[in-house]
């Protein structure tokens, strides 16, 4: 399944519609992810959100950001990785929301945004898996989500509040990176769009 190898690709109308719909969803969620990040840093207080604020990049077991080699992979593999990441993110976002409910209980907008982000990631992940299935490429199984969520919960509970804030920032950042990456990968499938 590589539109670059078989060009032009002829898609069934309903599959084409599904791809466009999923791509539009990813584009929309990219904007929402930016808003979530802005809301998050605002509620944590400075230096979160200040230009140049750069806490050490953390690596959660089972989930990291898109690797530099991601773009060199076949499209089907890229979408599989997108789907796997989107599958892991809801649990992580839920863990962040629970911690933020303790740290920022009077910030309903942030808590609502985190809850929405978890649902949106789940919806986009399912949509990407549907596209993959329709194209004859199976998505991976649930895989890393339980490990990543458990690891985050452990870290959240054991770490100090500053570290919990940094972890949440990292998760919100990962969410943005992956929906953005998914949008980019799907754009190569949208008929008429130039990769």
């Amino acid at each position: 399944m590589d539109p670059q190898a078989d060009s032009p690709v002829s898609f069934l109308p309903h599959l084409e519609a599904k791809i466009r719909q999923t791509h539009n969803l990813a584009r929309l969620l990219t904007k929402y992810a930016e808003q979530l990040l802005e809301e998050y840093v605002q509620q944590q207080g400075d230096p979160f959100g200040l230009p140049g604020f750069s806490p050490p990049r953390l690596s959660l077991a089972g989930l990291s950001g898109p690797s530099p080699s991601h773009m060199g992979l076949p499209l089907s593999e890229r979408l599989r990785q997108d789907a796997a990441a989107l599958d892991a993110l809801p649990g992580l976002l839920d863990a962040v929301r629970r911690r933020q409910a303790e740290l920022n209980p009077s910030s309903p907008r942030l808590l609502r945004n985190l809850e929405d982000a978890a649902r949106q990631a789940r919806a986009l992940g399912v949509a990407v898996e549907t596209v993959l299935a329709a194209l004859g490429s199976a998505a991976r199984g649930p895989g890393p989500e339980p490990a990543a969520t458990t690891a985050l919960s452990t870290a959240n509970n054991a770490a100090g509040i500053f570290s919990a804030k940094v972890l949440g920032l990292h998760v919100c950042g990962l969410y943005g990176e992956w929906v953005n990456r998914t949008e980019g990968d799907l754009s190569q499938l949208v008929p008429g769009d130039v990769a």
Partner: protein
């Protein structure tokens, strides 16, 4: 953070990823399952972690480099608080691996999630962080007031304290119990009529007193209000009277008739009721109030200005419900209803009382009407020929004008409405 600016994580997504740092990251080991205490952050640890302090107090903190970090030293480390670098004179080296900090006379926390105290390496990278919670214990809540809408629920509100902000998240919990028996209950629906309010929607007993109080808790302590004792029947309010109609009294230019319906929710219980009417001229903000409109559902306003649009509102007090001896609580005002008095060349006295039904007009209606017609003719007639046809056209226009004004629900030409309703009382 300014809107529209990409956040740090988004920015970092566009940079080549950092190679895995050679510096040991306790947080990374934590998420991989290796237990780690203290700050759990980066390559150093701040002590104390996440302290809670009173406003005006002092803090002594340390940032200690991990011992197994090769070549690591506290030389060159510095502190920031909420992103601002702290003066170097506030910190000093305790030893080669520990930088100490002394802060005095602390201000209240800037955000509820805590002030961010961060220890930085010489190159600015973050080594460790700790969140400070600086504030005040809660004051005793006071001034609890409650009301029941149609005996179905109970809403209470209170004042948090005279001092104002505690700078810490303070949780308020409204508790209630039946005075002589029963367990403590906690109200669950908060912020219904403002930040310090709660609504109990159901399962309330009548004819027996409740004890109600508020508990305030934050990181620095707790406080409890005095107990308010009340019977739900003594604090009943109701809906504004529906179907308020204001109409002219024939051709009388100084009177308007106001009619309304008793609030239906209490129709089976409302043996007595008091009503109040208030009215104002269209372009005025001063209301005139007609009091003591007892147990009747109509009233005639007299002494009004002719040819003037008036806005009228009515409210109800269900006092004495089920034999309660308390005053009851006024409902909110009904939606404003407007009507105009007929125009006349003679200005009215401008006062207002509620006339009893059956009041007589002060002068002949036909003569008065003719005078108004002649005045209209001067303005609209293109010829001096009078005719019944012209007269009939005028009457039709008057009726249409009257109907249009009665349909107006209080929207002034400037777009203003009548006075907003708050909890009556």
């Amino acid at each position: 953070m300014p809107a529209g600016r990409p956040g740090p994580a988004a920015q970092s997504a566009r940079r080549p990823p950092r190679p895995l740092s050679s510096l040991w990251s306790p947080l990374l080991l934590c998420v991989l399952g290796v237990p780690r205490g203290g700050s759990g952050a980066h390559t150093a640890v701040i002590s104390p972690q996440d302290p809670t302090l009173l406003i005006g107090s002092s803090l002594q903190a340390t940032c200690s480099i991990h011992g197994d970090t090769p070549g690591a030293t506290a030389e060159g480390l510095y502190w920031t608080l909420n992103g601002r670098r702290l003066p170097s004179e506030l910190s000093h080296l305790l030893n080669t691996s520990t930088l100490a900090l002394a802060l005095a006379n602390l201000n209240g926390s800037r955000q509820q999630s805590g002030d961010n105290l961060v220890c930085h390496a010489q190159d600015g990278s973050i080594l460790a962080g700790s969140c400070l919670y600086v504030g005040l214990p809660p004051e005793k809540p006071f001034n609890i007031s409650c009301w029941s809408r149609n005996m179905k629920d109970l809403t209470c509100r209170w004042t948090p304290g005279t001092r104002g902000e505690t700078f810490l998240h303070t949780n308020y919990s409204l508790k209630y119990k039946l005075r002589w028996y029963g367990q403590d209950n906690t109200c669950e629906e908060y912020h219904t009529v403002g930040p310090h309010s709660c609504h109990i929607p159901k399962d309330l007993a009548l004819f027996t007193p409740y004890e109600i109080w508020v508990e305030a808790t934050n990181r620095l302590g707790s406080a409890r209000s005095d107990v308010l004792t009340l019977d739900v029947l003594d604090v009943v309010t109701t809906d504004p009277p529906p179907d308020v109609h204001v109409s002219r009294v024939g051709g009388l230019e100084d009177q308007l008739s106001v009619r309304w319906v008793s609030p239906p929710a209490l129709k089976d219980f409302l043996f007595q009721a008091k009503y109040q009417i208030r009215y104002r001229v269209e372009d005025s903000v001063d209301w005139k109030v007609v009091d003591d409109v007892s147990n009747q559902t109509s009233c005639r306003l007299a002494g009004l200005k002719p040819g003037t649009v008036y806005f009228v509102q009515v409210r109800c007090n269900p006092f004495g419900i089920y034999g309660s001896k308390k005053a009851g609580i006024w409902s909110e005002w009904s939606h404003p209803t407007a009507a105009s008095t007929p125009r006349s060349e003679r200005p009215g006295p401008g006062g207002g009382v509620c006339e009893p039904r059956g009041g007589e007009p002060s002068s002949g209606p036909v003569r008065r009407e003719l005078k108004q017609f002649l005045g209209w003719l001067k303005k609209h007639a293109y010829c001096s020929n009078l005719s019944f046809r012209l007269y009939d056209q005028w009457r039709a226009w008057m009726q249409k004008s009257h109907k249009t004004r009665n349909q107006d629900e209080g929207i002034l030409p400037s777009g203003r409405r009548g006075t907003a309703r708050g909890p009556a009382g």
